[in-house]
């Protein structure tokens, strides 16, 4: 099964596989001499990948295989050099969604055996898990399955609704792909963070600066947008976060419950926390989902009252707060009076 060779087409779809690195060596690319028109095209491509992901889209191109593989690796370097957490995160997610798209497509067209060998390989490479197959199903150890699947809230993913036998959970390929999308994203994110860069070639450095300009505008815009709508206590926490400071637990609780109450999604709320110095995607997501009542206790937490916020030292009252007893009422009264 594992004697199937990965061609450049596979690597262009799944450039995070270890084999892509080797491929790069064979092509004899070295960063030191990353100049010249052909290299310029690759760098452009890398920037395209990044911008597509930041806009929340999936980069679909698969024309020039070598360029696709190398541009992924260059994009990692650029994102690392940018050093903006939200960009790293969005980029990782974008690449994971790209891989998911190809996996789903391949599942329909490729031979079963080939497909399974690709999935097996991704697990081995990315998560050091050996998955085996039996009767067209993938077998996961119960503990490996649980560590991943409990992050989905759908009942369908609960152990009781899976096929479980002798310590293994049996999944079809569709479910296997879904199970690993988040993992791929985290894997790429990790790869970006842990990267060690020596001197960057001038051609890439220029691009990094250029991108920074574009991206920062993006982020700034969002921040400006943020400042106008929220009560002073919430606004203050957002400011702390945007300065990469660490708000206390009570403040995080206020922010998350406030945002949940006004209908923000967990994704949006997690994104608010990503600039915190101790940000950990999984933990934050877990906590926010817990507050939303999706996890564990299933009790929904409500936004604390102004009195509570005040006693936690998180209140930054202005005259606009007059007459309200809960931050959620901020702005509402005024609208009614007008």
């Amino acid at each position: 099964m594992s004697n199937i060779q990965f061609g450049s087409r596979d690597l262009a779809k799944y450039p995070f596989l270890t084999e892509a690195g080797k491929y790069l060596k064979d092509l004899d690319y070295s960063l030191d001499e990353f100049e010249g028109p052909s290299k310029k095209r690759i760098i452009e491509r890398a920037c395209e990948r990044i911008l597509t992901a930041i806009d929340g889209n999936v980069f679909k191109q698969l024309d020039d295989l070598d360029t696709e593989i190398v541009s992924f690796l260059i994009a990692l370097i650029i994102v690392h050099a940018l050093g903006i957490r939200s960009v790293s995160r969005k980029y990782s997610l974008g690449e994971a969604r790209r891989a998911e798209m190809f996996l789903e497509r391949d599942l329909k067209h490729e031979s079963d055996e080939r497909m399974r060998s690709i999935l097996t390989r991704i697990f081995k490479d990315l998560f050091s898990i050996d998955i085996t197959q039996e009767n067209n199903k993938f077998k996961f150890k119960v503990s490996e399955y649980l560590k991943r699947a409990t992050y989905f809230h759908d009942e369908h993913w609960k152990l009781v609704n899976r096929i479980v036998n002798r310590g293994f959970v049996y999944l079809d390929s569709d479910d296997t792909v879904r199970l690993i999308r988040d993992e791929i994203s985290l894997y790429i994110y990790d790869k970006i963070n842990k990267m060690e860069l020596k001197q960057l070639p001038e051609s890439i450095k220029i691009k990094v600066d250029e991108l920074r300009g574009k991206v920062v505008k993006h982020v700034e815009f969002r921040r400006y947008f943020v400042t106008t709508k929220y009560p002073p206590c919430v606004h203050h926490i957002l400011q702390l976060l945007s300065k990469a400071e660490n708000p206390p637990h009570s403040a995080r609780f206020l922010l998350a419950t406030y945002m949940l109450s006004i209908g923000k999604s967990t994704d949006e709320i997690c994104a608010l926390f990503e600039t915190a110095p101790d940000y950990n995607e999984r933990v934050t997501r877990y906590q926010v989902e817990h507050l939303a009542g999706m996890k564990g206790s299933r009790t929904k937490y409500v936004c604390p009252s102004c009195e509570k916020v005040t006693s936690d030292n998180n209140c930054y009252r202005t005259e606009e707060c007059d007459g309200i007893i809960n931050p959620l009422q901020f702005g509402r009264r005024r609208i009614r009076n007008e």
Partner: protein
């Protein structure tokens, strides 16, 4: 409990810990565990740590606790406050509470006792003597209770072994010392699971939230042929097989079974699944399994709700908690029993008693005192 009663209980606990240090089972990886104990005057001492068995026994001989606990979790700093302990992993644990099984025998040995004046009543009501509303349920354990508990135990073990792949030698079973059984699982892979994964396992053994969709039955399914290819065979793995064996005798009955399900509709089938699961699932307390920071009663120590020991159960069928866990002396003492139904300890039956002075072996006297039914 009056002072003389308390003294008797304390004295017999002390004697037990002196005579039977070998009963106390030291947990593995002792230096990574947090220990805690209850004192006879009520206070709970937590965040203790011991390096070895000797240190541990010495401590308990000195303090004579009413109940002893240790963390199912392994910590880097077991004595630190909760946030600083640093969690390394935890044994997977299960608790079967016989009282929760709603058995018919309960009416023969269940009573309510007034917290205020200790008046014993046959049913839950305001105290007839002092009008206090604070009444507490008390139950003695009978042979039927034990059989029912063992039944749950067997169901649970089947799920753990056949489905979750846990080996026999990784499972340790205990009578809790009062009305239940405890299971400790020692398995390095399961040790690292977070509370959600543990909740998922608890739901699995209980059979909570089985979806009709897992049987190919969707909200909009109407045709037998759409469902039948996804409907389980009777020898399928896990819950699919278990449920299908309840629904039909053999695979030949599949078309008929599916037809019936579709006719009744999605929601009816969901209710049917819940009913079957309630019957064939294991009845455990999911809160215990989920909680990775729980301190759990220590093996081989006494339970102050009964004076019985948390005793190892090596062979379920022959294990008799009312004998194996009954470890106090049989020296006779005179006690006043307010009320007690007939009960068994060791090979002897006692009672029923109603407001009378009786001579009882210490183990039986302490049992009734701990239950709140007698005083010296």
């Amino acid at each position: 409990m009056n002072e003389q009663s308390l003294n008797l209980v304390k004295r017999s606990f002390k004697e037990f810990y002196f005579k039977h240090t070998n009963y106390v089972e030291t947990p593995n990886r002792i230096e990574e565990r947090e220990f805690g104990y209850m004192q006879f005057n009520g206070g709970m001492i937590r965040h203790l740590s011991f390096k070895n068995n000797g240190e541990l026994s010495a401590h308990f001989l000195k303090h004579i606790p009413s109940d002893v606990y240790y963390s199912c979790a392994y910590y880097i700093n077991p004595t630190a406050p909760m946030q600083e302990k640093i969690f390394k992993g935890a044994d997977l644990i299960f608790d079967i509470d016989i009282d929760e099984l709603a058995l018919i025998c309960a009416k023969d040995h269940e009573m309510w006792i007034c917290n205020h004046c200790k008046n014993v009543m046959g049913e839950k009501q305001e105290c007839g003597k002092c009008n206090s509303m604070k009444v507490e349920k008390i139950s003695l354990t009978c042979d039927n209770c034990i059989d029912a508990g063992k039944g749950e135990l067997k169901k649970l073990i089947k799920f753990l072994q056949e489905d979750l792949g846990i080996q026999e030698n990784e499972i340790k079973i205990y009578f809790s010392g009062n009305q239940g059984f405890h299971l400790h699982i020692y398995n390095t892979e399961l040790e690292s699971l977070d509370p959600h994964s543990r909740a998922d396992i608890a739901d699995y053994v209980m059979g909570n939230n089985i979806l009709p969709d897992s049987f190919g039955v969707r909200k909009n399914s109407h045709l037998v042929k759409d469902v039948i290819s996804k409907f389980p065979n009777i020898d399928d793995f896990g819950w699919r097989g278990r449920i299908s064996r309840q629904l039909m005798k053999d695979d030949k009955a599949k078309p008929r079974t599916v037809q019936k399900i579709l006719k009744a509709g999605y929601l009816r089938f969901k209710t049917e699944l819940d009913d079957i699961a309630r019957e064939i699932g294991a009845h455990i307390d999911p809160k215990v399994t989920m909680d990775i920071h729980r301190v759990f009663r220590m093996q081989g120590t006494l339970n102050s709700k009964s004076g019985l020991m948390k005793a190892p159960c090596n062979a379920i069928d022959t294990f008799d908690p009312l004998t194996n866990a009954c470890v106090l002396t049989d020296e006779e003492v005179l006690v006043n029993v307010r009320y007690s139904p007939k009960f068994r300890l060791k090979e002897r039956f006692f009672g029923p008693f109603n407001d009378q002075k009786v001579k009882l072996p210490t183990y039986a006297a302490v049992y009734l005192i701990c239950k709140g039914l007698a005083e010296v």
